[in-house]
Symmetry: C2
Subunit: 241 residues, 2 copies
């Protein structure tokens, strides 16, 4: 998605502008906007990562369209032979070609059955892999954004906004250590995030559902799956060619 790409680069620009604007300001504002800039830039980076993953999901979905396309000729061939037989049976019922065509139809039907089974299997497999991958990317992205937002709010608490009266000097800013620590904490939280540590969980009102199956699966594993099906598909392409 090109538009997410633009969002990501706009985000980074916002981060830069914020830091630049803050620099010319008092110590507290300067420090906090600088750190907010770091967090917002990090969001831009996450968006970039998300785009790459979205592309992989798109490619997988496209491969479903590809196999759909490849099954079509087999369907058409079967239909064509069926039509030819019907035509001959009407025009020249004794023609020896009917028998030849009927044998050809059996072969075409066998090929078509295989093609349809492949389509049925691959469509489901790819759909599932692609969307599991996509939803996992979303979950990771979203939980990381929510984390950053939380650290952002912690940063803001360092900013003392109690009003000063004209001529009164604002108390000296002493949040440098804390703000640095918040950024370190945020970066640690992002770096150590895993699907096992994911906290947003859907509540399902039916019990039959076994969620564990997917919770253990991580994105790396799924990327591996995507690759396997991609390779498989490439191999099948080669056989078909």
């Amino acid at each position: 998605m090109r538009s997410i790409e633009i969002t990501a680069s706009e985000r980074k620009e916002v981060a830069r502008q914020l830091s630049v604007w803050g620099e010319g300001n008092d110590d507290d504002i300067s420090d906090i906007t600088d750190k907010l800039g770091v967090l917002i830039y990090e969001i831009g980076e996450l968006e970039d990562q998300f785009i790459d993953r979205y592309d992989q999901y798109r490619i997988t979905l496209k491969s479903i369209r590809d196999i759909e396309g490849s099954v079509q000729p087999s369907r058409e061939r079967k239909q064509k032979i069926t039509d030819q037989i019907a035509y001959l049976k009407y025009k020249d019922p004794q023609s020896p070609k009917i028998n030849v065509l009927e044998q050809e139809l059996v072969r075409a039907e066998a090929e078509s059955l295989v093609a349809e089974a492949q389509l049925s299997n691959i469509t489901r497999e790819k759909l599932k892999v692609a969307f599991n991958y996509q939803f996992d990317s979303m979950r990771e992205h979203a939980e990381k954004i929510a984390l950053i937002a939380g650290y952002g709010k912690a940063l803001l608490e360092l900013l003392d906004e109690s009003p000063v009266t004209p001529g009164e000097t604002r108390a000296a800013y002493d949040g440098y250590e804390s703000s640095k620590q918040i950024i370190i904490d945020a970066e640690n939280a992002l770096a150590t995030w895993t699907f096992d540590s994911a906290v947003v969980k859907p509540t399902l009102s039916f019990a039959a559902h076994d969620e564990e199956e997917y919770d253990d699966e991580d994105l790396a594993e799924e990327t591996e799956n995507l690759k396997i099906t991609e390779d498989q598909w490439a191999a099948e392409d080669k056989v078909a060619a």
Copy 2:
């Protein structure tokens, strides 16, 4: 952000295409892609909501620029009088105008002190309100997206992707009730989400930090705050005019 707007509308288009594509497919795929379409469309809707909130944040930040702009003339006036006094003291040290200018300078300094205090107060207040509002919007948006992703994964589990052999018929799809329930659960989860139910929390390595202060605050309240400062500012504008 215009680019998020485009992302949202592209997202909805993806949802539509997915449902349309699925319609022509077998029951299981048709039902699941239809429901996936509903969830993805919901993401688009959330993105639209997020844009509106982003706009409000942008407007608040802009108001900081506005007050910065309004303080500038007062700074310049003070500087100009100071320069005039220095010039006269050098050129015509006995000039009675010096005394007049010095009295004018006292008034200008008083005005400037007020303006600087206003700038100091409003900048911090607005910065804090705007970013708290922005981070809360992000948190809400992100947690809701993560929720949707979780329900999406639950939907995918209804899709039986075990391969069939050529000629074999796939077991009839019986997931209609479950898929409908998943959508109902998802919509309930989104509708009942509140900041109190937010689960993604930053881990801060210093204890002095009191997080409660902001956790109780909700977006509605903050929107109220935004409004108050907007009104305040409008009122100040009127006084200035």
